[in-house]
Structures are given as C-alpha cells and as structure tokens.
Symmetry: C2
Subunit: 107 residues, 2 copies
Amino acid sequence: MTDIYKAIADATRRAILDELVDRDGQTLFELCARLAMRHGIASSRQAISQHLDVLADAGLVHTRRVGRTKVHYRDIRPLEEIVTRWPADSPTETPDDAAGQGTEEQP
Amino acid sequence: MTDIYKAIADATRRAILDELVDRDGQTLFELCARLAMRHGIASSRQAISQHLDVLADAGLVHTRRVGRTKVHYRDIRPLEEIVTRWPADSPTETPDDAAGQGTEEQP
DNA sequence: TTGACAGGCAAGTAAGAACTTGCCTATTGT
DNA sequence: ACAATAGGCAAGTTCTTACTTGCCTGTCAA
C-alpha cells in the first residue's frame, strides 16, 4: 500500500488526477492522449500505466475492466486526511509579530 | 523552490510538521529530541536540518535566528492549495453504480 | 482465424532523494 | 581567552523512484 503523500508527490500523477477530475472514467490511451494535449506531458504508455498503478495502490483511483479496455475512476476522498491532519491554522504559541516573519535572517 | 507535494512526501517531514503544530517555535535540537521521544524517529541532527531546509524551501516552515539558536515556525497555509485543487468530490460524470466500484475486476 | 487494438509483466537503467561523515563558523558562559 | 553549545557546508554513499525496452496476454472485428 502506497501512502497518498507519495502518490501525489509526482507532478505527472497530479496531472492524471486533474484529468480524471475533468473527465472521469478514462482509459489508459485516452489519458495518454489528453495528458499530452492539455498538460504537455509526453510520457510513454508504460510510464502512465505505472503511475496509475501507484494511484490505485494509494486508493486514489479505482479501475474496472470493460472489454479490452480498463476504465479509471478517481477517488479523492483519501486526500481529506491531509486537511484533517493539519487543519487551517491553530496557533498554539503566539506568533509574536505578524509582519516580521522573515524567512531568512537579515544582517 | 521545492513544491509542497514533495515536501510532505516524506514521513519524517510530516512528523516535523506535526511536532511544530503541537509546539510552535522549536529549535533544531528540540525537534531532534522530541521526534525521537514521541515519534520514534532516530535521525541525526544533519538529517533533520536538511528536512527543515526542504520544508522552509516549500514555505511550510519559517525560521528566525534568536541567538545562537534558530527557531522554527510552521506555516501550513500553503497546504490549502491541495484542498482547492481537488475539492471534496465533484462528480462530473455519473459514478454509475455506487456499490460496485471494485478496485480490481472479479472473474 | 487472423490481425489489429488495449493493456500487462519483468528486468534494466538512470536520475534523484535521504542520510552519513568530516570539518567549519558563530554565539554564549565562565 | 577558552571551551562548550547550536548550527552550517559540502562531498560522498546508498536507496528509492521514474522511465525505458522488449516481449507476452487478452479482446474484438473482419
């Protein structure tokens, strides 16, 4: 079982999820074509297939055989864990000055 | 600039964020100790430091020099992008049957 | 039945990520 | 001033990940 964090760490897999949100129930070849067209992703069929395996392993994509094709459905509910894990912002300590939160120190 | 998806892909970095949510404004040595105590993470100081660099590079952690210490503050607002990118669930196509969404095909 | 289409399996390669090792700088306390 | 504390820098190692390459298995249409 791959965890969802590793699954969405890859930009191509995020694009696959985007594509499935835009049009659910696509086959592998459809996804390859649309990823190339609308996302500028020129990965091979095998590469996309392996990405889909990772997404399915994380529970973000479910598949169903139809004939000689395999249809892919998104399921983004597992991503809700991210929101519940780090909700909005609940400051336990006072953030001191709100403005002076420089990312680096100044000389 | 590291993207937030790569940043939270690592389990140790997620534990660091958890730790900073529990107690904001910790130093590197404090984090090392508390990660070992409460999360069972036995990484070296340098490893944690490099993880903090990645988190800071993704904008999830801001730092401030205090004396000879460096205090780390969480900032989980960048994670809101994930929620806005894949909101709840908005089915564009009909999910067909709700129950029969088997992950794999049955013979 | 034959061939084209859709996809799967598995080994190998290559790039990147995590971690280590060794040494260096700056600040504080005595 | 000197030592201890808190951290930084950089090269090297190892392990993971993304991708390729080559071939094989089903399914449908003519």
